[in-house]
């Protein structure tokens, strides 16, 4: 049950705050595969992917307070951390990808944790990875390419613009459109929606 899983994660992070190494082992067992799969997808190199996963878990070990339950599910938060560190590794000496911080962080986290989004819709996105991959595949090519370049490739907006030879404004519009289309597709794939459809 997702909610129970989230609770277990929160308790394990609490264990990290008490410096309990067993909690770290349990979190590793629960999230290492997804983390490694994502890092490998971004980096395409086994050793660098393992380095990123190791780095992410040790960062969490040193600073468990980085995760706060009011910032949503641990699994999603940790994968975001792994993804950002993978992109940092990919870009090496380039500008680092930072998690929401600074002036807009308050807006970001308040929005993520707000009641503006119907909880049923949140649950509706509990689809599996294969379904998400299929939804990406079914995007129009120009939308799919910006999502792949931005999320997995670590490209900046201006780099995408240069690479695809389209104006920056077009890149921004395509990214937003792609995100909205993906959400529509994922909500349609959700169990409740499929049951209604059937």
């Amino acid at each position: 049950m997702p909610q129970q899983d989230d609770l277990v994660d929160e308790l394990l992070v609490e264990g990290l705050r008490r410096r309990d190494e067993r909690a770290l082992a349990a979190l590793y067992d629960r999230h290492a595969r997804a983390s490694y799969s994502l890092a490998l997808r971004v980096l395409g190199d086994h050793q660098r992917a393992e380095d990123v996963v190791q780095d992410a878990f040790l960062k969490l070990w040193r600073q468990p307070d980085l995760y706060r339950a009011n910032r949503g599910r641990f699994a999603a938060w940790f994968l975001q951390l792994v993804r950002n560190r993978s992109i940092d590794s990919l870009r090496s000496n380039s500008r680092e990808v930072v998690p929401p911080a600074g002036a807009w962080a308050d807006v970001f986290w308040a929005s993520v944790a707000s009641q503006d989004v119907d909880p049923a819709e949140v649950a509706a996105l509990a689809v599996d990875g294969e379904e998400v991959a299929r939804a990406i595949e079914e995007l129009a090519p120009e939308l799919r390419s910006v999502i792949e370049m931005a999320y997995y490739g670590g490209y900046s907006q201006s780099e995408i613009s240069k690479e695809l030879r389209v104006p920056l404004g077009t890149v921004k519009t395509r990214i937003r459109t792609a995100m909205l289309r993906l959400r529509e597709a994922l909500v349609a794939l959700a169990p409740g929606e499929r049951a209604d459809a059937g």
Binding site: R33, L38, Q54, G72, V112, E130, Y155, K172, L186
Partner: protein, 273 residues
């Protein structure tokens, strides 16, 4: 100041890029102010964040090497053992009256020299502390490496022994203070190597270890010492001086750390070959 009529569109586009974690994406002050007030933007941002989270799992499943878990846990353990040294802080106490008086009487040049001396002392102390910490960390790392090498060697022996034809499994029963414990001895009678795995054997007290004895015609030969973890699990690779077929029984006792020449403590496991 006139509001930008296009601000909503631009903000919503920037929010999509930010939620996606795009390198270098940012929000202008104007867009930030708009996002704070615009419920539609906030809702869209939350939805984008969900899509971004879904993208993280849309990858082909892959498995890290088995060694990664150990590397992470060993590093975390090492960091726990070698806790970061608190940064040496300068005195927080209020200067005493004689110190204040002296300070007031110093010429600017003398004051500068005094400050330089204080800085030099602080830097020296900090350097010494850091050197000490690094030395300790290096030694701990060496120990951890030796421990890992020993474990790898042990596992290689285990794998080799388990693969040999003629493998036997001897059940060991808990006795005395460990009546609920048990153990298994994996051995090949013609070999001099065996592997012990315990279950439910609580960790020995501080300064104590478990020691295995091979018994032949009443004579006891040490097969090595071992410890157990909090779950009661422990392993020991035994190298006997003679093929194991010459021994009639095995026993495990509690002994002082480092082991004893002969059994002195209570017996906790026993079995007949």
């Amino acid at each position: 100041m006139r509001a930008d009529p296009d601000i909503h569109r631009r903000t919503s586009e920037d929010l999509a890029s930010l939620a996606l974690g795009l390198s270098g994406a940012s929000l202008s002050d104007e867009s930030l102010a708009h996002a704070k007030e615009c419920a539609q933007c906030r809702r869209e941002l939350a939805e984008h964040a969900q899509v971004a989270a879904a993208l993280a799992i849309a990858v082909s499943p892959a498995y890290p090497s088995g060694a990664l878990r150990g590397r992470i846990l060993d590093a975390a353990h090492l960091e726990s053992v070698v806790a970061p040294t608190p940064v040496a802080s300068t005195s927080q106490s209020t200067p005493t009256s004689w110190w204040s008086a002296l300070w007031r009487q110093l010429t600017p040049a003398a004051a500068l020299a005094a400050v330089a001396v204080v800085i030099a002392v602080v830097v020296s102390v900090a350097f010494a502390v850091e050197m000490s910490r690094l030395t300790l960390a290096l030694e701990s790392e060496r120990q951890a490496r030796r421990s890992l090498e020993a474990r790898v060697e042990a596992y290689e022996v285990v794998v080799a022994e388990l693969a040999r034809p003629g493998l036997m499994v001897l059940e060991l029963q808990g006795t005395g203070p460990a009546s609920t414990a048990s153990g298994r001895l994996y051995l090949n009678p013609s070999s001099t190597t065996a592997v012990l795995a315990t279950n439910g054997l609580q960790p020995a007290e501080a300064g104590r270890v478990y020691q295995l004895w091979l018994i032949r015609d009443g004579q006891r030969t040490s097969g090595g010492t071992f410890t157990t973890d909090s779950t009661g699990t422990g392993t020991l690779v035994i190298t006997a001086p003679h093929p194991l077929s010459v021994y009639q029984a095995v026993g495990v006792t509690i002994e002082p750390a480092g082991g004893s020449p002969g059994p002195t403590g209570p017996r906790v496991l026993a079995g007949t070959l």
